[in-house]
Symmetry: C2
Subunit: 425 residues, 2 copies
Amino acid sequence: MALIIQKFGGTSVGTLEKMRNVARCAIQAHENGDQVVMIVSAMSGETNRLLKLAHEIAEVPDSRELDALAATGEQVSAALVAMTLQKMGARAQSFLGHQIRVHTDGAFTKARIRTIDGTRLKETVQEGKIAVVAGFQGVDSRGNITTLGRGGSDTTAVAIAAAIEADVCEIYTDVDGVYTTDPNMCPTARKIARIAYEEMLELASLGAKVLQIRSVEVAMKYGVAIHVRSSFSDRPGTMVVGEEDLESVTVTGVAYDKSEARVQLIGVPDKPGTVAGVFKLLSDNHVSVDMIIQSASSGSGETTEVTFTVNETDLARVKGLIEAHMDSLGGGTSVEYDSDIAKVSIVGLGMRSHAGVASKMFSILADEGINISAISTSEIKVSCLISAKYTELAVRSLHDGFGLDKLAQTNPPPNKQGRKIRQSS
Amino acid sequence: MALIIQKFGGTSVGTLEKMRNVARCAIQAHENGDQVVMIVSAMSGETNRLLKLAHEIAEVPDSRELDALAATGEQVSAALVAMTLQKMGARAQSFLGHQIRVHTDGAFTKARIRTIDGTRLKETVQEGKIAVVAGFQGVDSRGNITTLGRGGSDTTAVAIAAAIEADVCEIYTDVDGVYTTDPNMCPTARKIARIAYEEMLELASLGAKVLQIRSVEVAMKYGVAIHVRSSFSDRPGTMVVGEEDLESVTVTGVAYDKSEARVQLIGVPDKPGTVAGVFKLLSDNHVSVDMIIQSASSGSGETTEVTFTVNETDLARVKGLIEAHMDSLGGGTSVEYDSDIAKVSIVGLGMRSHAGVASKMFSILADEGINISAISTSEIKVSCLISAKYTELAVRSLHDGFGLDKLAQTNPPPNKQGRKIRQSS
């Protein structure tokens, strides 16, 4: 017998018919002898419907009221799923954030969970009931309703798994796991059987479609095993686990991101504070900067070149800010913008102990004739900025060049691993 | 400066445009120097939409889950109205049942309020904000969401008025007050300026369209002055107040009810327990019986006749129960049913001290040739059962016969009285 969390997103509970499917899934686990806590999101479209009403009232509605409004979506789902379970013969009870004391900070619309009181959920499952929790919501210290941001139900699921010491946190989605890269981009992409929290965080651009990043951080902190799997099939998906539970491979996945734009400042006076002034300007205006590269000073030693990337959607705003700031950079500075770029990254825990991974990446790209216009690295990631038109070529050649098309053979088959976790308690 | 409650029903907050109207109403009072707490119902149609989903899942959905589901309707309204107030320049904050500790018993779907903690609402209005409370909902001792039954927001409003000692509880509806009788039935019907709680309770069949009966009981218990008024006009409506604040009139209003059906048992053996057996049968099957009349025994002293009324919607069920029970009534008993009947009632506090009111009622009906088939009385009410086709004739002749068409002149003009209450603090 195991204690399992099953989290279902908005698509999985989008209609009453689909609710019967998720109920069947929970009842099956329950009949296998497991204790089940379900976390549900709002029915698909519901959150948008509510937010649309709010935005018809005001361009920037009060965030406290926005949370009180949006939280109703999950409340409706939880009650309806509980009714569905009952109709199908199971005993079930729904719970809201404030009923199981999902206490958060007071940052409306993007709150962070501080504590959860698992007592009532534990009692409920010990009585043989299936507990159905409204995801995405909590309460602050004054009892105000808060929400955890888009995808927040993932974080509710993982935090509850930690609070009640569940054996596994199953996240049901419309894909069947995390892939070595985007299968739409690369036909040899393979489902990853097991991946480390750190890798999952670095693969954000792939993983964001599957898991809220914050949920992975919480899972890492409390050692919660996440099982990302499909709501349409019984097959095991991807286990997101601690490093110690993995045989590390050098490169686990290849990610890409076409949403960035490059800004290049040329002929910037090489004086202390000049470059800092530019980034203070952007930060004061809430523009997030991703990569930053400053070249060595030019021959004369008087000017330098600064390249950085921002999100494409911020580019128009950045242009305005930079133009207005040009005077303070001196007359000789010019600026170039390019939104036709892509960032391609390789991620893997094994990089820490394997030399030459970055240079192998550069060689693979060079062999394909792809020019690299900027590079950034972390302990377990190397990212290269390239021209957008080479994205597919770069992803495919890196994927197969690092042997990811053959990865599945080197790891044990995923179904065995998925089972192991659930039967270990 | 006064502390006022303003309650708006589902029709008044049915669209974002209508929400601007109710916000304007609250802001106006606020600008006049009053402190305002608004109570709002779910947007019209929303509760039915939610219940329909529940009933698609199960014929009889779990009542705890039903309440968690239905309570979202008011939560949405409260948040949207608070946003609307803010957009219009006011400071505002929404509150849910659990946030202001609307503690109820555990009778899901028809809970009764036990206590309310008014502290947070008082703080909010003292800070110069308009508080917007989700009506209809509370929490039981375990923190489960409960609801107060259809029209429950009226009771929320009155109970909050009692908890924070508001000067008046304004109930905004689509009619402009309580009338001496149904204006659609009787063209000389007049708006009642002031009416006693007890009268309002007896006029249930008129008042139910305007006020939840339970809200009048709570108002009577705590001495809360209710002001029933129109959301479409500034004119004062009807004040529902304590008897001591009224000059009592003999007859305040004429009510009618066509929803009952009559059951007549003829030739029932006149033995102890026979009649009791019939009513135990009905009560065991949750059939509410209204009037009961047992005639004197017939000449032979061996049989008697019993007439009673039930709600028309229960009639088919009652027929089945009685037929199955006929054997135990002995072979000589026969039964007749009639759903083509109406109950006409006159209500007034003054009846207690005025003799001859009932006999005047019977004379008025007799003068119109209307036969009375049953009579029941309370201290402040006389009801007669008549043939349904005479309803309009009976209502009109009683209304004018008791001088209700001239009532408005004998009471002070309502606008003075409405003001008095609000300015008395």
